[in-house]
């Protein structure tokens, strides 16, 4: 199932099922940390990142994959990241959140995802591509021996390891150890969730590894998948792995919601919620298109590479999220 449509679909179904079961919403994870003093979902996400940090490195060392850190364009990751972070508050979920909530029957999620796909496609390959280009060209590191990294003409996107000439294994182990120390030696909020955060995190991390093996060029992502689903449906372009992965997420989430009796067509009563979904979807899509990834591509899949681009984008996802939450909900 390497690189095939069916591979993408199977990985997507597994991921969608897990997202629904584990309530894996990064919009909530970022917000809860600051405004609700609740670190349950945050720890769940970091657990997945710790598993993937070691997992990706081990897979690359065994020659199963090559590491593909995301392109580093500082202005794009700062501006796009902040826009994405603001958008997810209005849209009522991050890129993966709105995708899996479609499978739960959420009408505002369908609206947000549609506008997300449109503006992401416009920023990456459509009418807003010129604007995206203004953020600059990728900054790369030239490596004589790329080793575990996939290089183009000896050039690799910067990571903590290759930027400072460190052994990627050492960096990965130190980083994972810091995360694990934080996870298990700090207080965790209590919650009656269907699955413990540590177990959920490990399972998401394993699906991330399976995704990397299956797609080969990267682990899990959302933005590229939505762009592909729309362009392949409306033009002659073919469907690809990541388009099928996003489609699979919706199916997997629906299966989980149906089994556990959580599926329902849900309409908010407040008209404002629909307006927020449109604006939030547009902001998120544009931001992810510019930044080169969303909370999955950059945060969940990118941080385990210790890619500078993903670390910078993630910081601005979180700052944008906190800023918009404060603006909309936090001031009184």
């Amino acid at each position: 199932m390497q690189g095939t449509l069916i591979g993408g679909l199977i990985v997507g179904i597994l991921f969608g099922f897990l997202l629904q079961r584990t309530r894996m919403c990064f919009n909530s994870a970022f917000r809860d940390l600051r405004y609700f003093k609740d670190n349950w979902l945050w720890k769940q996400g970091l657990m997945a990142i710790a598993v993937e940090t070691i997992g990706f490195q081990a897979m690359a060392a065994m020659g199963v994959i090559k590491l593909h850190p995301s392109a580093f364009i500082p202005a794009a990751q700062i501006v796009g990241g902040f826009a994405f972070g603001m958008g997810m508050v209005l849209a009522g979920g991050c890129a993966s959140g709105v995708t899996y909530r479609i499978g739960e029957g959420n009408v505002t999620a369908i609206i947000a995802a549609t506008f997300y796909a449109i503006s992401a496609a416009a920023a990456r390959a459509g009418k807003l591509k010129g604007l995206t280009g203004l953020f600059g060209k990728p900054i790369t590191v030239t490596m004589t021996n790329p080793g575990v990294y996939a290089a183009q003409d000896g050039k690799v996107a910067p990571t903590v390891a290759n930027l400072f000439g460190l052994n990627p294994w050492v960096v990965s182990i130190v980083f994972a150890a810091i995360i694990l120390a934080y996870l298990f030696f700090t207080k965790t909020s209590q919650r009656k969730a269907p699955m413990h955060w540590a177990i959920a995190g490990v399972l998401v991390g394993l699906v991330g590894m399976l995704a990397y093996w299956s797609q080969q060029t990267y682990s899990l992502g959302i933005t590229g998948g939505w762009i592909n689903l729309f362009t392949a449906t409306m033009t002659e372009a073919p469907y690809n792995w990541i388009g099928m992965e996003v489609f699979g997420i919706i199916i997997g989430s629906f299966i989980s919601a149906a089994i556990f009796k959580e599926f329902k067509i849900r309409f908010p009563k407040d008209p404002k919620s629909y307006v927020f979904a449109v604006i939030g979807g547009l902001l998120m899509g544009w931001g992810a298109g510019v930044a080169g990834g969303c909370n999955i591509g950059h945060f969940l899949s990118g941080i385990p590479h210790l890619a500078i681009s993903s670390i910078l984008a993630s910081i601005f996802f979180i700052l944008g999220n906190w800023f918009m939450y404060w603006l909309v909900y936090g001031r009184n």
Binding site: F36, G92, T108, F263
Partner: protein, 79 residues
């Protein structure tokens, strides 16, 4: 359990987080001790989050009742 008559109702059906949590906490903040709030939700995560967060505004969750397919009614008393 004897039915508690709510003083206020928040119909949060169709909304996803953080709206149900935020509105519940906002309402609790304005309520007087002993008053009862009824929150209607249909978003599974809110069923886990509201009981976890209500005590921070002095809310005591009296009951969580399933009122339909993926629909719940949470009764909270201000302490």
């Amino acid at each position: 359990m004897a039915e508690v008559k709510p003083n206020y109702t928040l119909d949060m059906r169709g909304e996803v987080c953080p709206v149900p949590d935020v509105e519940t906490r906002r309402k609790l903040k304005t309520m007087k001790t002993g008053e009862v709030l009824e929150v209607l939700i249909d978003y599974p995560l809110s069923k886990e989050r509201i009981p976890a967060n209500a005590p921070k505004e002095g809310g005591e969750v009296l009951s969580i009742e399933e009122t339909g397919p993926s629909e719940w009614r949470i009764i909270i008393r201000k302490q």
